[in-house]
């Protein structure tokens, strides 16, 4: 099976505290640690496990700039056969539809049986996979938690629905699936693996290579744009205990007891 996995490089929230920049028009990006979007990494692992069973290749693709090559290399070190970068000044400022339009053009240049995305990016809207499927007129399923390849160009998949229940579906190939975290256990990538792919050339495709009109993507085509960032006020805020650890331990115990929590 030929599988394309669309991935993104995002600020890693387990490594960073996200703060606003001074003007509030963006988050402070100078010191951020970036990594592959978590759900996308699960999608790549799933693709690798499928081709290990059925044969075929895994391509990882991203829309971005030179900095984004590092996540492609990381996924190639995991076992993806090739990485592809879609990059062009005309792409900057694209909204979800713009990104989906760029990916659609790339998908149509190849012959993929299956296209995977992560269900959502940390700063995204769980949108590109569903949009890409609609642009391609492929069937789509979101929140996918298992994939079984059936005879006759079909898959049996499960989706995560409310309450921990699973919805089973059959879906025709080619299709687009958005992969939920926890579907598998992504393999570890060591420094040695990354060094082995450090020199591999990553083909880059621009608007012209993909036959995309510059009016169809980028800032001018975007129907949706961020205006500013701010820190939300969700509730009245917790009373923060500022004692020593020992004092805080005592206080917590006292509170748990007072609220009927010590049997």
């Amino acid at each position: 099976m030929e599988i394309l996995v669309c991935v993104r490089r995002v600020p890693d929230t387990s490594e960073n505290e996200i703060e606003l920049n001074r003007t509030g028009n963006d988050i402070e990006r100078d010191e951020l640690v970036y990594s592959i979007n978590e759900a996308d990494n699960y999608a790549v692992e799933e693709a690798l496990q499928i081709v290990a069973r059925t044969g075929g290749t895994v391509t990882v693709a991203t829309v971005g700039g030179e900095d984004d090559e590092e996540v492609l290399r990381r996924e190639m070190a995991m076992g993806a056969n090739r990485g592809v970068l879609m990059s062009d000044d005309a792409f900057s400022g694209s909204d979800g539809r713009g990104i989906a339009t760029i990916l659609k053009a790339f998908v149509e240049k190849g012959h993929y049986d299956l296209v995977l995305t992560g269900v959502q990016a940390e700063d995204g809207g769980a949108q590109v996979g569903g949009m890409l499927a609609a642009l391609l007129d492929y069937p789509f399923a979101s929140l996918v938690t298992s994939i079984e390849v059936l005879e006759g160009k079909k898959l049996k998949i499960s989706r995560e629905i409310a309450g921990g229940n699973k919805e089973m579906n059959e879906i025709d190939l080619p299709c687009v699936l958005s992969i939920q975290t926890g579907i598998n256990e992504p393999r570890y990538v060591g420094m040695r693996g990354i060094r082995q792919v450090a020199g591999v050339a990553i083909p880059t495709f621009g608007a012209k290579d993909l036959g995309i009109g510059v009016c169809a993507v980028g800032e001018t085509a975007a129907q949706v744009r961020r205006v500013d960032y701010f820190v939300p006020i969700l509730g009245k805020g917790a009373e923060i205990l500022r004692g020593t650890r020992e004092e805080n331990v005592d206080k917590v115990l006292e509170l748990v007891a007072a609220k009927g929590g010590l049997k």
Binding site: P11, T13, E17, I18, L20, I27, G96, D123, G125, A126, G129, G130, M131, A133, A134, L135, Y138, P139, F140, S142, L143, S158, R159, I161, A162, G163, G164, K166, E167, N169, E170, I171, D172, G182, Q223, V224, R225, R226, V227, Y229, F230, P232, L234, G235, G237, A238, E239, I240, L241, R245, N248, V252, L253, L255, V256, K259, G260, G261, L262, K263
Partner: protein, 328 residues
Amino acid sequence: MARIFAYIVHKSGVVDDSAFELAAAARKIDPAAAPTAILTGSGSDLDAACAALGASYPEIWKIANQALAYPNAELVRKALLKVLPSDSIVLVAHEHFGIDLAPGLSIKLNAAFVSDVVDVSGVAGADLKVVRQEFGGQVSTHVVCNISTGAVVTIRPGAFKAVEGPAVNGSVIDKSSEVGTLTAGRRYLETIVAEAGDVDITKHNVLVSIGRGIQEKDNVAIALELADALGAAVSCSRPVVDAKWMEKSRQVGSSGKTVKPKVYLACGISGAFQHLAGIKGSPFLIAINKNPKAPIFQVADVGIVDDILEFLPELTNKVRELRGVAAK
């Protein structure tokens, strides 16, 4: 102002709570809006769901079709495309069905798309301004969406309070005949109900709940020891289940269990809305997290900025000490 539609999720004749939240969101977009509910389905369940909306929506569009008995997003999309006027604003709840339906619907309607909206600032000309959250709720952002060719907007469940508006006597309009035969490349097979775990976290008064801050599988024992000392149970947030450190049956949240304890100790949990959605009954919420900016501190009653791997063992020792004294 464009006409506003709300796609209503329902099951066994009962409409989802989000139906009334979407009506509230519609009125926040346009205070003069007379939002229209759209429902797909079949049989008496669909009629019962339509009847339940009469007080909230002036018009209820019903699409009955045997193929829509189970909500398959591809079939629902095809049905909606047959009946929705161009340039409509379509509101959908941001849950497992909305995530399936809405992005593709926006493409086919050639409408703008904005997802997981938590608030509406207003409309100026062709711009709808809304609030979204990013990075697990650590920051919010104002987003402007051009609605001149319509929009599909998904609304976060629980973000809009259902309001008692002036009572309307909504009428049901049957649109079924406009839809015709529906087929899809994806077919629903069955629903597999979650397995019960070894511990029923919904039955405990005190939950020691762990998140990503527990860092590795071996550290789960730290929480189990505390729970054991307290006579509590250990629950967790999604990353702990994703990492296979605990069973799915221990997960609190919209894709896990809904719990109603008296005391909830959120340990190393950032406080994403999907997690908070699983905590009901306003328990006393104590949050321990080493990130002072973690969103959990905004909703907790008491917060401690500390490393749970160091704090929890000390708490366990103290509980044991107390118990030991009490036993003598």
